[in-house]
Amino acid sequence: MTPTRLPRPSLVVLISILVAALAVPWISPYDYYTPSWDELDLAPHLASGHLLGTDGLGRDLLVRLMWGCRISLLVALLASLTSLVIGVLWGVTAGYLGGRTDDLMMRAVDVLYSLPFIPFVIVLTVLFGRNILLLFIAIGAVSWLDIARIVRGQTLSLRHREFIEAARVGGMTSFSIITRHLIPNLIGIVLVYLTLTIPTVILIEALLSFLGLGAQAPLTSLGVMIADGAAQMQSRPLLLICPAVLLAVLVYCCNRIGDALRDASDRASG
């Protein structure tokens, strides 16, 4: 599955954002949490190094933006990977073993699907307090359901292919067939799914943070910044526009790349 036609603009933009998110906090003289009482609410001002200005507490907007980006992406990545591991193992086992086991496992998925997400997160918050770790557990706990279903479906169709039959004839145990034959053949679809989950998770995280259920101050995420910016929309529009635009661009790029990967893997599998 060689990506011969990856969307270059999206890739370039995404990589630039990633590089900036990593580099800017290092390069800029300002950090993201120290209030600066004599630099409150500044407009973008090249000379002082505040390229996008400062927020209500005098913190440099650009640096906070990049930090917010880091946190959003970090949560997205961790939550996606967790959901991936759980979802793939669940789905491939249910799909390969079939029968009663499959029924039970997928009924469990159905039950979890019907859980209302926001109230669930609120309950977790009440029990464990506001915590970035909590955030990614909550998101991960919900997103694995989709991938479990997809992986199970794919496993069901792979299960009857001749090379799996050949493995059984070759004396392999179910466990080794799953690990050595099924999972490598699922990676393609899983990877594509991952690139499409990440933007979804970023948005969920933004939503939760916007509602006040996510990252705690002074840590910030794009969602938190959007929430803060929305409150000051009239007086300081930049505080809302910058994180909102960045969020939109990130999600768009991830989606574009995910689409291209899916097209490429569709082509490869014929």
Partner: protein, 324 residues
Amino acid sequence: MSGPLLLEGRDIAVSYGKKTAIFTALHSVSFTLAKGESLAVVGESGSGKSTLARAVLRLVPLAAGQVLLYGEDLATLSARELRQRRRDLQLIFQDPLASLDPRMQVGDIVAQPLRVFAPQLDAKARRDRVVSQLESVGMPASALARYPHEFSGGQAQRIGIARALIAGPAVLLCDEPVSALDVSIRAQILELLESQRRQRDLALLFIAHDLAAVRFLCSRTLVLFRGEIMEEGGTAALFDAPAHPYTIALLSAALVADPRRVRGRPKLPAASTDFVASAQADACCAYLGRCPHAVQRCAQEKPVLREFAGGRVACHRAEEIASA
């Protein structure tokens, strides 16, 4: 050319579905296979021949009957013991490219049985065995690091054969191994199978609908129709003097690359309607709807597989047909 009894099937029955919608793919099929012997199982689609291979390999559950390997009933074995016995029962597939894991390198694919059945070998010993096995089927050592999709159908089948033979099985089941291949390649693969059979004293269970391949490779033939044995016997005798109407139809319908033999031949005789069909499917001959020789007895009494002219046949009228 027969040695001790290697593989035996006794009254194998396989059915699919539950309760009301049961489809019986095989009804009480029995066969024997001795060391070094080659047995062909011939039939059209729906005859149950592929199901028979899978039943023998225990890939599908048996509704009745037994499969005995070296006299041991495979159903009495634990899962682990069964896996170990698989060393002696290997399979090559109809679609060679589909039988190879597209994500694995050829070297790993062929080495897989060694990992299972000869775990004591180290990586280098395994690699050497894989290379020598590939060479014995006519594939270069350079194939080791390549992927299945880089090869043609014929080459992929050679790889499949290498994989099947690497752990030294006693029995090789072949599920229509050449029907998906070009004509010029078919002969090569069949010759490869024949030479491997002779070298290793392999027993072959060859499933086919291509009669030419069967004649080339197998000394005995079993003819299946809708899950039942119609006729069984030495291949040459069967081809020269078929006893069962279905075998006769198969042979007369078969085409060869010789216009003098196939042009202007008469059409296949139409099915006989000289009977009143009974309601019970079990009480009549499986071939009833297509047989040009059917009489009332055929609709009331299922013929039993019996000795006839050096082989076995399941037909009430075999003697009359043969003398006509």
